[in-house]
Subunit: 429 residues, 2 copies
């Protein structure tokens, strides 16, 4: 019977399992997935705009004509056709790369895992934005790496803060291995690293002997026509770049990649083989055919337009309904708005009441390795319709008003006078 | 330029990368994949008997009708329908299991990786048959676990040898975490653990506090109609069972699974999420539809018949052409024959000459963590036609004859008088 017996294996686990814990909010999200709840929590792309009938035709043809290859074992590095196409995708961001230096992975999450595996011994430091992607923090923790957060402002990661963090770690005798950064439409903060800062950040890391891990799933989903030049574009030797088809095409195929300096790429391929033998050949060929046959750039434009409308719906609703003292970031692309509640709020403690009021979000603490973020929360506008987004924000505002009422009655907390778009600073003050 | 720059990351890698090395035979296999070479090396299933047109129809319908689910993110444990079907598949081997205790993984290779991750700290011991699956040895090494081999005979793993290995490890102060075993049609030795020994092996491990990792990709591919009862069937609390659709359906979808005691299963799901977020939903739904719609048991029968014919072709050719002093195992199922060459041979050193003679195999040393196996080699009969198998064995015999000629001329080595089917004992004597 599941769950009823003592765990006789408990003395046999590896030490690293101590860093693997089920999220406290997991059970709640099972409830949050009910249709009556407006979920502003997940980062699921809105797939309704995909050409499903055309894809059905392509997928079927792939099996009928190339099934003996598509359904067979393949290369641990990924199929050459797709790696060439990936180089063309990255060229949009100024990256010049050779397909030899691309490794296809089971989503870019797997590339994150393999990079950490290659670089991090227990206790090694990974620098990451404050806040940072919850899935990366989980992976780093599974390898017993220590995350040290570096502050952001409206222009993204702050160079001076990065220098200070490296110096403090060094002074404490700690080994800094990687800077993990999401330069475009950051998850969860929604801010973008300014063009001016990119070479500065790269140079700081290069001279400090810290490898940059540039995670860019959202880069092509900007709301204007600006091409944001990848950090990797100007620093091929010290940057490992991660890309994904999950946000620009479809996550259910789990195809991402790493572009890495040659020696690192060799190790990534070995790690890929030891983990999965090879990424699914069918999925790689399906995406390769999609890129070759469909107007994928127009599809990305359609996604952008959808997400822009939804962002605007969310920003409008926030301005209309949030209580005084609430601030939020204004993303130029991607999926997320980062909200800072007035003093006294605890977004994790409030989540059950929000779900009861039929709205869900991710509490800010999920995005910190160090317990910060209790006054923050992440709202996603990618999946629900604009009408549902407005309704969700309205419900959230109702919950906040109720909390404020309680705080005023019992004298806890205090609100700040500001309201509106602000930097993503955590509640460090 | 790939390969031309010094590796500036070389001081930044994790210690575990020292256990990650490119196989010396990798480059050779690129050559071995040329069509003029008869490859008896790979373990690729013979997919030609799959109903590709019917599958094309199914895959297309899956996208057209359920694309919004199939192409979206999913559960880290795998979709419930498939986990239920997996329980039905395992029931054929006497396993009673609940879908809650199944975790779907990217091939069973990923389940191997995650199990090692959960159980093994650097230096921990994993017991494994001598010889054992090369891909498992690579994964164990990537986690800095130490493999201690346990001898087999024609009835598989020898219980007395297992007891002795555990005692020796304990006496040396080493922690034994897992017994890794492939009970059916073992890779590479082709032998099967006898029914009588199964509960004995299970009891030895249970009372020693060692978790059994039962890897069973070939279990349904036996050449007779015998149902071989899984070790897990009689020991649900101390066995982690790994299964795969790669050999019974198609490896290009990379879908395998682990069935684990409840507490272990919880950790496997966390590790699965941290590695890939979730296994590809499309692939899981495609296999679930295949199992629901097609006569998959007849497909497995067709596979069996194909592989039986090929095994017979190989055994006949070995008997006809191998030089005196050569012995081999006689598998009752699966993909592999394990060949022991006469004394004086070195199968790894001989491989370049074999590839020049247009035949490829895997040298025995690949299947040992401790340098044994230099006189052994693994021959696969799963992929080439019977005619090609006979031709491949004939070419291999020609290479052996040439080597013998050289050895006789220069007085190295000596042949034993035996020839024919034998136990899989390595060259320990």
């Amino acid at each position: 019977m599941p769950g009823t017996s003592l765990d006789q294996h408990r003395d046999r686990y590896a030490q690293r399992t101590e860093g693997m814990r089920a999220s406290a909010i997991r059970a709640l999200f099972a409830v949050a997935n009910r249709p009556e709840v407006v979920s502003l929590a997940g980062g699921m792309p809105y797939l309704q705009s995909l050409p499903l009938d055309g894809l059905a035709e392509e997928f079927g043809q792939l099996v009928a004509k190339d099934g003996l290859v598509a359904l067979q074992y393949g290369s641990g590095q990924g199929i050459p056709e797709l790696r060439e196409q990936i180089c063309q995708v990255m060229a949009l961001e100024g990256i010049k790369a050779h397909p030899d230096d691309v490794v296809v992975t089971v989503g870019s999450q797997m590339a994150l895992d393999l990079t950490t595996r290659i670089f991090c011994d227990p206790g090694d430091v990974i620098l990451a934005e404050a806040p940072s992607y919850v899935g990366a923090l989980g992976t780093f923790s599974a390898y017993q790496a220590q995350v040290v957060h570096v502050a952001m402002d409206d222009d993204g990661l702050i160079p001076e803060a990065l220098v200070a963090a490296i110096e403090q770690c060094r002074a404490a005798g700690r080994r800094v291995k990687l800077l993990y950064t999401i330069p475009n439409f950051q998850n969860p903060a929604g801010v973008t690293l300014s063009e001016a800062r990119r070479p500065v950040i790269a140079e700081i890391c290069r001279s400090a002997g810290v490898t940059v891990l540039e995670d860019n799933p959202y880069g092509l989903l900007g709301f204007d026509s600006t091409m944001r030049r990848a950090i990797r574009a100007d620093d091929p030797d010290n940057v490992i770049y991660l890309g994904s088809f999950s946000k620009t095409f479809a996550p259910g195929l789990r195809v991402g990649w790493a572009l890495a300096p040659h020696a690192v790429r060799e190790k990534l391929v070995l790690a890929n083989e030891s983990t999965t033998l090879n990424p699914p050949v069918f999925n790689q060929m399906a995406i390769s055919r999609y890129l070759a046959t469909f107007d994928w750039q127009s599809q990305i434009k359609a996604y952008r337009q959808t997400y822009l409308e939804r962002r605007d719906a969310m920003l409008g609703a926030l301005a209309a309904h949030m209580p005084e003292g609430t601030t939020w970031t204004v993303p130029d692309g991607g999926f997320y708005v980062w909200v800072t509640l007035p003093e006294g709020f605890d977004s994790a403690a409030m989540l059950p009441r929000a779900v009861s009021a039929r709205v869900a979000y991710v509490p800010g603490t999920a995005f910190y390795a160090d317990q910060l973020g209790s006054r923050q929360l992440r709202l996603s506008y990618c999946f629900p319709t604009p009408e549902r987004i407005v309704e969700g924000v309205r419900r959230l505002a109702g919950v906040l008003d109720g909390e404020l009422e309680v705080m005023r009655t019992f004298g806890t907390g205090a609100t700040r006078a500001v309201r509106g778009p602000q930097s993503p600073s955590p509640d460090t003050a």
